[in-house]
């Protein structure tokens, strides 16, 4: 390991930014805090992006490593011990000055501090704690701080750091224990999940002190009692057939209780299996205090997050989503981030990616993540073992709707909020607006356009006062073709090489039987 002394601040910043950029999380949201006299900074619950780098990702925080020295040799990591790169470290003063001066000039919303593991996890965590303490106490910084909890560090150190930070994260990186064993031999699942559980408990206790547990629907005694994180690989090997996501998943082939009657048209009382969709809020409840006073310390008020690498190991999308769902449900995470695998190391254990990082797959996982958190979809509704991967041609919501045409069309002027959310082209904002606006008068298609509904997509799935927008006979494959043309224009990145000869039957997983009763007569 080459440790360079006497580097300038400019050189250090370049090295330690290069080393930190593969962490995708860059949000400054989740906590609202006003400014205070003598301090610099405040924080907004919706977060602020200050710039966008050449890869189109937002720059919100000064994302740097404390040091890129590391005792571990994780195969996928740019900072692994066996890589022959220049190693350096920031001093706490350098981090403080950079953060303050960047913040004053409105370049950043705060600090994202991560680190390689130097000597021991305890020593690293202590260095991180010292840097934050200096920034908060001496430099009097009141802006946003996101910091990593180092697995294996003393819980007391993590606890102390949590009171200086707004958000903490521990990266799971690989969704299966097996993947972790292969690519990150020094880490184990238990070691990663331990600090995650500690932070979850810390946040819950903070909510309890503020008397907010009940309003968030969280029960202290249930934390840690729920099944822990499913391991998709082992679950499948055992042949149990489905993942333990904390909720019974319908066995393959069994009839869904909703089938055969228009479940989406009633008042929503029959869908006990589904989480309740709260307008504009995550269905998993809100771990993290949110709005806080600037005059008292709080433990991780913006909640915790984690990251999963997409495409470094052969997990399916369904396995990824099942893990994400369990993380939200059992570990009270605020966000799970998905990071398309970038092959930074030439290693025989890592997959070759001739087409570049799997960006479209990452995009689909994010779409599905939002469907789970804000739209009340369960992972098992979007995917199952029979079709474990997302359709690359259609977004997960359109894909779901096409497979459930029996639940459409939805009457805009009567359907409950949860049902409106499931219509392609209707988002959280437009669903909230529809529910508010229709109290005054029945809505027509031109009104929906004003409200913000994307009629190009919604037109096939809705009626306004009993009428559809285009009075034609529609079938799954016709709708699919129309939506597909639109989606192809909308894809934000070059997906050349991705398209092959399309067969609607294969690509949309339509079966002959489904087709016959799935067509719509209008």
């Amino acid at each position: 390991m080459l440790i360079q002394e006497g580097l300038s601040l400019e050189e250090k910043l370049k090295i330690l930014t290069d080393a930190a950029r593969y962490d995708v999380s860059c949000t400054s949201s989740g906590v609202g805090r006003r400014g205070k006299d003598g301090f610099l900074g405040n924080s907004r619950t919706d977060g602020i992006c200050h710039s966008f780098s050449a890869d189109g990702r937002c720059i919100s925080l000064l994302k740097i490593l404390l040091t890129n020295q590391c005792i571990y040799d994780c195969r996928y990591c740019v900072n692994r011990r066996s890589n022959d790169t220049l190693r350096t470290a920031f001093t706490p003063e350098e981090i403080g000055t950079l953060t303050m001066e960047f913040y004053r000039r409105n370049y950043i919303e705060g600090l994202f501090l991560s680190s390689g593991v130097l000597d021991t996890p305890d020593y690293t965590m202590e260095q991180i704690y010292r840097a934050l303490l200096l920034l908060r106490r001496e430099y009097r910084f009141n802006g946003y701080i996101h910091v990593k909890a180092i697995p294996g560090a003393d819980p007391a150190l993590i606890e102390m750091t949590g009171y200086l930070a707004d958000r903490m994260s521990v990266n799971l990186e690989l969704p299966t224990a097996g993947g972790l064993r292969t690519l990150a031999p020094a880490k184990t699942r238990e070691k990663i999940l331990k600090p995650m559980r500690q932070i979850q408990l810390g946040i819950a206790r903070q909510l309890e002190r503020e008397g907010r547990l009940e309003s968030r629907g969280i029960r202290m005694d249930s934390i840690g009692r729920e099944p822990s994180l499913p391991d998709p690989a082992s679950a499948l090997e055992e042949g149990s057939g489905h993942l333990k996501t904390g909720r019974p998943v319908l066995a393959e082939g069994s009839k869904s209780p909703e089938k055969g009657r228009p479940a989406l048209m009633d008042d929503g009382g029959s869908r006990e299996g589904r989480p309740r969709a709260i307008p504009g809020k995550s269905v998993y409840g809100n771990f993290g205090l949110g709005r806080v006073s600037a005059y008292r310390p709080y433990f991780v008020p913006a909640g915790q997050s984690t990251q999963l690498i997409v495409g470094a190991t052969p997990e399916s999308d369904y396995q990824m989503m099942a893990v994400a769902e369990a993380l939200y449900r059992n570990f009270g995470l605020k966000r799970v981030f998905y990071s398309a695998f970038v092959r930074v190391n030439d290693d025989s254990l890592l997959p070759e990616l001739p087409g570049g990082p799997p960006l479209l797959r990452e995009h689909r996982l994010y779409q599905a993540d939002w469907l789970m958190r804000y739209y009340g979809f369960a992972a098992s509704e979007l995917l199952d073992e029979a079709r474990p991967n997302f359709n690359l041609f259609l977004d997960p919501k359109c894909d779901w709707a096409l497979r459930h045409l029996e639940q459409f069309p939805v009457e805009i002027n009567r359907a409950p909020y949860e049902t409106l959310l499931r219509v392609p082209g209707v988002g959280v904002k437009s669903a909230v607006r529809i529910v508010a606006a229709r109290r005054r008068s029945a809505l027509r298609f031109e009104d929906l356009k004003r409200i913000g509904v994307v009629l190009k997509r919604a037109a096939y799935f809705i009626t306004c006062s009993g009428r559809m927008m285009t009075p034609v006979r529609l079938q799954e494959d016709a709708i699919a073709a129309a939506l597909l043309g639109e989606e192809r224009r909308r894809l934000p990145f070059d997906s050349s090489g991705l398209y092959r000869q399309l067969s609607l039957f294969d690509d949309f997983h339509l079966q002959e039987g489904e087709k016959s009763h799935g067509s719509l007569c209008v």
């Binding site: 610099l40 890869d55 370049y107 008068s441």
Partner: protein, 254 residues
């Protein structure tokens, strides 16, 4: 038809609303226009509106009390818009507002309500973008200076935000397009300057030093992008070209 011609300011437009309403000519027979921003029409009478703070405050109180704080925020933001028809849009919205009451902001199916909503949203988005992309540079005595070029006159929305964020910093925000300047002195007090005094603030720009931190920021900005994920179209969607001349970082274009 009687057109009330008002000054292009929040107070001017509110006074126009007051006069048009008080004329009792009937809503269909009156309208509002901004001074210097209308064409003469046949059979229309033009009445100038005198801007008077007391009248404007009466309208403000009525909107906040009889409709809602939210409706007031919409109206206030809409008056900062650059659109010429904003005065009439405010008037048409308030007709529905005083009739429906608090629920008016939920009735987006009413065209006049949606028109004001759209004005309000455009101004709010512009203000949000400026909060993101505005860049300060430093004058010799640690005073911060920013030059912006927003479409709408959002400086009054930016000042409270930056004052809360940086209570101990002195700073100047100079809007080159509208020739207005916001000035914050320590202790949370801020002023809005126009005309000759604002031009004096503009002259400060020559004294800023690009400085070491601008260079460090450029290093960070270039390093944080992942080369394998390069995607300038996506970058352009989130950070439109029109903001870039005012920003510290330089964008390499291929």
């Amino acid at each position: 038809m009687v057109l009330y011609v008002c000054e292009d300011s929040t107070e001017g437009i509110l006074c126009g609303v007051y006069d048009a309403w008080a004329s009792r000519l009937g809503h269909d027979r009156v309208g509002l226009a901004l001074a210097g921003a209308y064409n003469y029409e046949m059979f229309t009478e033009y009445r100038p509106v005198l801007t008077d703070r007391a009248k404007a405050q009466k309208v403000e109180r009525a909107v906040r009390g009889k409709i809602s704080e939210r409706a007031w925020r919409w109206v206030y933001r809409a008056t900062l818009s650059r659109e010429k028809e904003k005065a009439d849009a405010v008037y048409r919205f308030l007709i529905h507002g005083f009739h429906i009451g608090e629920a008016v902001t939920q009735c987006l199916q009413i065209p006049q309500v949606h028109a004001l909503f759209a004005l309000n949203r455009a101004v709010a988005c512009e203000a949000h973008h400026q909060k993101e992309f505005l860049r300060f540079s430093q004058l010799p005595d640690r005073v911060l200076f920013a030059r912006i070029g927003p479409k709408h006159d959002v400086t009054p929305l930016l000042m409270p935000y930056f004052c809360d964020r940086m209570p101990s910093e002195r700073f100047v925000i100079w809007d080159a397009g509208h020739e207005r300047a916001g000035v914050h002195v320590k202790g949370g007090l801020w002023y809005l300057l126009a005309g000759r005094e604002a031009a004096r603030a503009a002259a400060l720009e020559k004294e800023t030093d690009a400085g070491r931190y601008a260079l460090l920021w450029q290093i960070f900005f270039d390093s944080v992008a992942i080369p394998e994920r390069k995607n300038e179209a996506c970058q352009r969607t989130h950070l439109p070209l029109r903001y870039r001349p005012y920003m510290t970082e330089r964008f390499s274009r291929s």
